[in-house]
């Protein structure tokens, strides 16, 4: 009983329950074959794509801010890579640096605006989202005359960023995702910097009073979200040998939903990397795993919606649970 109640207070628990719930639902109502599902690459590839961005977004949301410009940064990263390496034929190394640099620049812009003004970051990043969509579309038209650019990548770039692994259809970004999850887990839960990020989401004024460099960390977190998004775009351009201008609106919601299903509070100050990892898997299984069920895939969005509402309700309950005393019955 004690174990259960302490388990119920862990921030990753709602996401694990969601995952179990979705799997049970798919098995009972969709007749899904779990062996085939776990061996399938489609949902893992998808999870890796959104998961790499979900990790820094989770940290940012824990710190009490949000970044929706990531939606424009994925195509921006892809287009930058394709324009530099494909259209202009410059070395791939330059293209990779260019793609990451555009992430850093937009991240710095978001972060500096967020710390210098009192405008909510939802609005700031909405601005950069739309602005970047414009820049990417108009820029690629101007430079290449089209909205789709092909490129060829050298073997090393393919191997590191855009290849299939295990001899099947799993993409190499899966490894990036797993490694980054470990790095972010360390950062958030073991290093002192994680402590600071949680504190910023809990009470920004007190965090500042405690000597935490709140502004610097906020800026770095924005650089993290934008750069990871352009990184994902870059990997895709290398994998598919082309890049297209797209809105990327879906990615925003998918990533934020994964983070929330992963147990991160919308108000900040609470959440876990393991939870976000599981939340991303859950989300990917709902979207891509539905193809393995007898359920019509158009129902997937309904499931996502229900899951999101359930996750928010659960997060709230868990937060309240976490706040109530555990030690009441303990003696000695």
């Amino acid at each position: 009983m004690d174990m259960i109640s302490s388990l119920l207070r862990r921030p990753a628990t709602p996401s694990i329950l969601s995952l179990i719930g979705v799997l049970v639902f798919y098995v009972i109502f969709g007749g899904v074959d779990l062996d085939r599902l776990s061996g399938a690459a489609s949902w893992v590839n998808y999870a890796a794509r959104i998961g790499i961005v979900a990790l820094p977004v989770a940290l940012l949301m824990i710190s009490g801010e949000i970044d929706i410009s990531i939606g424009a940064m994925i195509p921006a990263g892809a287009m930058t890579t394709a324009i530099i390496a494909g259209h202009y034929g410059l070395p791939m190394g330059v293209a990779i640096l260019g793609a990451l640099a555009i992430g850093v620049v937009v991240g710095l812009f978001n972060g500096i605006l967020a710390t210098r003004t009192s405008v909510p970051t939802l609005i700031i990043t909405l601005g950069t989202l739309v602005a970047m969509q414009g820049i990417v579309l108009a820029g690629s038209k101007l430079l290449t005359g089209g909205a789709s650019v092909p490129l060829t990548s050298p073997a090393w770039a393919k191997t590191i960023f855009g290849d299939f692994i295990f001899g099947g259809s799993h993409q190499v970004v899966i490894l990036w995702w797993v490694v980054l999850t470990a790095v972010f887990w360390f950062l958030a839960h073991l290093s002192k910097y994680g402590n600071w990020i949680f504190a910023m989401g809990g009470d920004k004024v007190s965090a500042r009073n405690a000597g935490i460099p709140v502004d610097l960390i906020t800026i770095l977190l924005f650089v993290g979200t934008a750069t990871s998004a352009s990184f994902v775009g870059m990997c895709h351009a290398i994998l598919f040998n082309s890049a297209q201008v797209s809105g990327g609106m879906n990615d925003i919601f998918n990533i934020v939903v994964s983070v929330v299903v992963g147990g991160v509070l919308l108000t900040g100050g609470f959440g876990s990397i393991i939870g976000v990892f599981v939340g991303t898997i859950t989300f990917a299984i709902v979207i891509k795993g539905i193809d393995f069920t007898a359920i019509d895939r158009n129902w997937a969005n309904l499931i996502i919606g229900v899951m999101l509402l359930a996750a928010v309700a659960m997060n709230e309950t868990f937060r309240k649970k976490a706040m109530t005393a555990v030690t009441k019955k303990k003696k000695g």
């Binding site: 402590n195 004024v205 007190s206 965090a207 935490i212 100050g269 976490a322 706040m323």
Partner: protein
């Protein structure tokens, strides 16, 4: 007057924001092991005074002395480094974080080396629990417990214990008892006494005269940004202090306001049921 130098002293400090004068000629001093109670109604300039003491605002005129030496704080961090810690009414604690992590916020103990330094949870929890227990809060036994599950008084006490542990010599308490019930307030007052016993200089800001009289050695009443009265323990009665704080209001209003204060302290209400 006394042989020991005050830990912190203000001499004729003025503070204005543009054309608006908020503080006039404030002079006060606090010695180690002494509690100075700053009393004042809302809008009397208490917050500005706290911020000036804590290094947030620089005085427009006058000087601040720490250990008898004139100083200019470059910012709140500078004041903290000189041992001046401020504990705000609701501030300083993060409800969704553990006691250990709260206690060591910004000063985390780590183990390991290079980029692999990890937060030393065990040590942090152990020290945090020991320190708050030493301050007399025995209900906190588990350093992993989330602070949100503690009572308001315990959270205040945790913030004070933290300041004391990290070497504060001047403790500025901003309305620590304002939002608390009687029992909780008593808790915090005990911690204030403990801090005093350990030789800290305490500046206790409140508008609750009863609480001030319980722990104060020295009192200053702030009215419209100026010190209207300055006296030591036992020199004035509660009614006189309340009268001073209200600063020229009619007796009837005053009685009504006393009643208001006392209602929040059952058992201490004065026998006055006729407010008009």
């Amino acid at each position: 007057m006394s042989a020991t130098t005050p830990v912190i002293e203000l001499r004729n400090v003025d503070k204005s924001f543009g054309p608006i004068d908020v503080l006039h000629e404030i002079s006060l001093k606090v010695r180690a092991g002494e509690v100075l109670c700053l009393l004042g109604d809302n809008g009397a300039g208490k917050s500005t005074l706290i911020k000036t003491l804590a290094g947030v605002h620089a005085p427009t005129r006058g000087e601040i002395l720490v250990d008898g030496e004139p100083v200019t704080f470059s910012g709140p961090k500078d004041a903290q480094n000189r041992g001046i810690a401020t504990v705000h009414q609701f501030g300083g604690t993060y409800p969704l974080m553990s006691v250990g992590r709260n206690f060591f916020m910004g000063e985390e103990p780590t183990i390991g080396f290079g980029p692999f330094k990890i937060f030393d949870r065990k040590t942090a929890n152990k020290i945090a629990v020991e320190e708050v227990q030493k301050m007399g809060i025995t209900r906190i036994t588990d350093g992993d417990r989330l602070v949100g599950g503690l009572s308001g008084g315990e959270r205040q006490s945790l913030a004070i214990a933290r300041a004391v542990y990290f070497g504060a010599r001047v403790l500025i308490l901003d309305e620590p008892t304002a939002a608390l019930g009687v029992k909780q307030a008593a808790h915090v007052l005990r911690i204030v006494n403990e801090a005093k016993r350990r030789g800290l200089a305490v500046i206790f800001i409140t508008h609750q005269v009863m609480h001030a009289m319980t722990v104060g050695d020295h009192f200053a009443v702030l009215i419209r940004g100026a010190i209207a009265a300055d006296f030591r323990k036992g020199e004035k009665t509660r009614e006189e202090i309340t009268d001073l704080m209200a600063g020229g209001e009619t007796m009837a209003d005053l009685e009504a306001s006393i009643e208001g204060y006392m209602e929040t302290h059952d058992g201490h209400a004065p026998q006055m049921n006729t407010a008009g």
